[in-house]
Symmetry: C2
Subunit: 99 residues, 2 copies
């Protein structure tokens, strides 16, 4: 893995490495949802949610479409879900087995 590839991979990971953004991925696992629905699901204000959605869209993790006044987001990069799975797995192990 050369520097350039590593940098790009890091960019993608960074786009997931945030509590709100992880929760967004979780909220979208079942399919597309509007910004308002997502904001409610993750328990954050509209402005912040919109910003985080934009970040993930920029990095190619999400895509969006407008439908009237609302905008729906969905997961474009399925690897995001796999990454979420890995971290989930890690956290379960820490919580139950060790220490």
């Amino acid at each position: 893995m050369d520097k350039k590839l590593a940098s790009h991979a890091a960019e993608v990971l960074k786009a997931l490495a945030h509590p709100i953004r992880l929760q967004v991925v979780e909220a979208l696992e079942g399919g597309e949802r509007s910004v308002g629905e997502i904001a409610e699901a993750v328990g954050e204000k509209q402005a912040i949610t919109s910003q985080q959605l934009n970040i993930m869209k920029d990095k190619g993790i999400l895509k969006s479409r407008r439908e009237g006044a609302r905008v729906f987001y969905w997961i474009e990069n399925e690897n995001a879900i796999r990454v979420l799975g890995c971290v989930h797995n890690h956290c379960r192990k820490k919580g139950k087995g060790r220490r």
Copy 2:
């Protein structure tokens, strides 16, 4: 996934979301190596490499042991390797234009 779990998961991901740190994981996939070996493998200076190793150790991704003057690091959290695999997979798809 509640806020607390999401925050912890984000912490772990953040510890991987850096070009050097991803390369470190790759360098350690084959087993433990000393700081000097790792620094050379990723092409970075000693101080920076040591700092990044420390970050990953703090977050439970690596562990280390001292052997004389040298310190060896290895991967403690195998999920780090899986995450790396996910991102690799993502980048390959993007690069070749498949879908």
